[in-house]
Symmetry: C2
C-alpha cells in the first residue's frame, strides 16, 4: 500500500516541493526513523534487507538529498572548515598551498569552504563566519584580532588557526613572517658588496602584509653596516617601471630587492632597456623562486620560499578539533633560502 503523498503539489505552476525524508518514508511505507537508519547505514540498528531496498528505491525515485543544515542543527556540530576567500588574485605558490590544504582536509573528512565576505572587516567578518558554526576557521593574513577569535570560540568553533605574520591571542598560529625573506635578500646583497639598496614596494592593494615585513627584513640585515635602503614604490605596469628606470642613475643604487620574481622581471626589463648593466651596475634579486626567473637573462637570483605542507596544517587543525582544550601552538613555518643565480 503506497499512500498518496499529502502535499497537494498540483502540476500547475508551482515548482515541485523539495523531497524530505518524510516523503521518502511515505513512499517506502516506513517511518522517518527507518529512513534515517537506512540512509546513514546505522550500525546500531538492524533493518531487514527488503526494507532497506524499498527505502533506497524510494529515495532514488524522489531524488532525495538530505538537508545539511537540518542534520547539523540536530547533531549540534558540523565538520565544516571555513577560510575566507582571498580578495586579491593569489600567486602560484600560495595557490598551491591552499589546494594541498583543501585536499588534505577533505581526506580527513572535513568539508572545506571558502567564504567570500567581500565587504566585511575584522569582527564583522568573524561574526559572519560564526553564523555558519564552522568547526574550524583558518585565517590568512592578519584579518583577525583577538576579539574575532573570541567571537568564533564563543560560537563553538573548536579550532582557530591564523596564518599571518604574527600570532593572535587565543588562536593557534602558523607564523609566516616574510621578514626572513627580506633579511635573506638584504644579507645576500650586502655579502656581494652592495651598499645602496633599493626595495620595491608594490602599489597593488592587499600586498602590504607581505611587502612591509620584507622591507623590514632588508632594513634589519643592513643595520649598522653603512648600507642604505631606498623604498621604490612600483605599480605592476610597464610604464611605472619605465619611469623608475629613467631616473635610475640619479638614484645611485647598486642593488635592488624587487619584492618578488614578477616585479623583478618587470623592473629588470625596464632597466635593461635603459642600458643599465645587470648585475655589474645594479644587482637584482627577486623572491618566490618562480620558473620564470630561471628563464630571464641574466638568470634571476631569488629567495626561495618554503611554505608548510598542506598536510601539516590539516593535521594541526584536526588535532585541535579533537582536543580544543590545549594551549595554542605557534609554529614558525616560513623557510627562506637565497638562490644565487646570475643577476646579483
Amino acid at each position: 500500500m503506497v499512500e498518496i503523498p499529502e502535499r497537494p503539489d498540483p502540476a500547475s505552476s508551482a515548482p515541485p516541493a523539495v523531497p524530505t525524508s518524510a516523503d521518502v518514508a511515505r513512499l517506502a511505507g516506513v517511518s522517518r526513523a527507518t529512513v534515517s537508519y537506512v540512509l546513514n547505514n546505522a550500525g546500531a540498528v538492524r533493518i531487514s534487507e527488503p526494507t532497506r531496498r524499498r527505502v533506497r528505491a524510494a529515495a532514488e525515485e524522489l531524488g532525495y538529498v538530505p538537508h545539511a543544515a537540518a542534520r547539523s542543527l540536530r547533531a549540534g556540530h558540523s565538520r565544516m572548515v571555513l577560510m575566507p576567500a582571498p580578495n586579491v588574485p593569489v600567486g602560484p605558490l600560495y595557490g598551491q598551498f591552499i589546494n594541498e590544504l583543501q585536499w588534505a582536509l577533505s581526506r580527513l573528512d572535513y568539508t572545506v569552504v571558502q567564504y567570500a565576505g567581500m565587504g566585511l572587516h575584522g569582527d564583522e567578518a568573524a561574526r559572519a563566519w560564526a553564523e555558519l558554526r564552522p568547526v574550524a576557521v583558518i585565517v590568512p593574513g592578519g584579518g583577525l584580532g583577538p576579539t574575532g577569535v573570541r567571537i568564533l570560540k564563543r560560537s563553538g568553533t573548536r579550532a582557530v588557526v591564523t596564518l599571518g605574520p604574527e600570532r593572535v591571542e587565543g588562536a593557534h598560529a602558523l607564523v609566516m613572517d616574510h621578514y626572513g625573506v627580506g633579511h635573506g635578500a638584504g644579507a645576500h646583497l650586502l655579502a656581494r658588496g652592495r651598499r645602496r639598496i633599493g626595495v620595491v614596494i608594490p602599489q597593488e592593494p592587499g600586498l602590504e602584509y607581505f611587502s612591509r615585513p620584507r622591507l623590514e627584513g632588508v632594513r634589519c640585515a643592513l643595520e649598522d653596516t653603512g648600507a642604505a635602503v631606498t623604498e621604490l614604490p612600483l605599480a605592476y605596469e610597464e610604464e611605472a617601471a619605465a619611469r623608475i628606470a629613467r631616473r635610475w642613475r640619479s638614484l645611485g643604487l647598486d642593488a635592488v630587492f624587487a619584492y618578488n620574481d614578477e616585479y623583478a622581471m618587470l623592473l629588470m626589463r625596464a632597466l635593461q632597456d635603459d642600458g643599465v648593466m645587470i648585475p655589474e651596475e645594479t644587482a637584482v634579486i627577486g623572491a618566490d623562486d618562480l620558473l620564470l626567473g630561471r628563464l630571464l637573462r641574466p638568470r634571476l637570483s631569488t629567495v626561495h620560499i618554503e611554505l608548510p605542507s598542506g598536510r601539516f596544517l590539516a593535521e594541526l587543525v584536526d588535532r585541535v578539533v579533537r582536543d580544543p582544550g590545549g594551549v595554542p601552538e605557534a609554529h614558525k613555518v616560513l623557510g627562506a633560502r637565497v638562490v644565487h643565480r646570475e643577476s646579483s
Copy 2:
C-alpha cells in the same frame, strides 16, 4: 528580575555552551520572539525602546551570534551561492574574474561560498552541493552533466549556471569556448605566411578543458589551406622545453601557438637558447595577454581574451533566482582578439 540561566554550566572542564536566542531572552527577561524581533529589526512589530536596549545588551554580553542553519531551515531558503573551488592553481585572468563575481554577488546580498569537494566527481559532487541547499550554483569547466543539474534543481537550487565550453541541458550557460582563441591564433599565423604550425599541449592536469578546444580552433582555422598542425606536449618545466628545442629543427615547424603566454615564454627561451631565430625561423604566439609577454624580446604576440564582467554573471544569477521559471539562457561570452607584436 534577571533569572539565572537554566543550563548548569559549571566552570569546570566542559566548554561553556554556545549562547542561543533563548539565553538572550532569559537574560533580557523577555521571550524568544521578542529577541528575534529586536535583532532582526522587524518592521511589522513595534517593540519599546527600553526592551530593545535590554535585548541588545544581553546579546552583546553573551556574545550571541545567530545560527545560520537554524535560520535558513526555518525560512525554507538561504541566499547562498555555491561554486566549486578550483582544484588547480588558477591564472590571474580567471582569478580576477572570480573576484569580481564574488564582489558583485556580495553587493546583491548573496553569501558566496567556494566548496572544495576534492574527491568528488560528477553527480557525487552535485549531491554534495545540493545538501547545502544553495539558492544558486555556478560551475566552471564542464564538471556538471544534465543529471547533476536535475539533482540540484530537485533540491531547490533556483539557478544553475555553467561556465563551460558548451551548454548543459537545463542550466543557464555562459559559453566560454576557447575554440575561438585557437582559431584566432591559427588564422593569424596563416596570414603571416606560416604553414607548419605547432600547438603546445600542456601536460599539467586540469588544463585539458582549455587546451583541447584551443587546439581544435587552430585545426579548424587551417582547414583546407595546405597548412598542417603538430601537437607538442609540454610540461611546465625548463627541461621539458629544452628537450623540445633540441629536436626543433627536425620538426620542421615555422610557427607555434604556445597555449598561453607562460608556456610561450618557456618555449621561446628554450628555442632562443638553441639559436632558433624568432620570428624569422619560427613565429611564436601565446594567449591571455599577460604583462609578461610585453616584457619579452621579441615582444610576444598573443591572443587577448575578454572574459565577461563579474557583474554580468552576478546579475544573470540574480535574475534567474528571482524568476527561476524562465527558459535557460546561453550567452557566448568569450572574446578573443589577436594582439600582434614582434614574435610572429
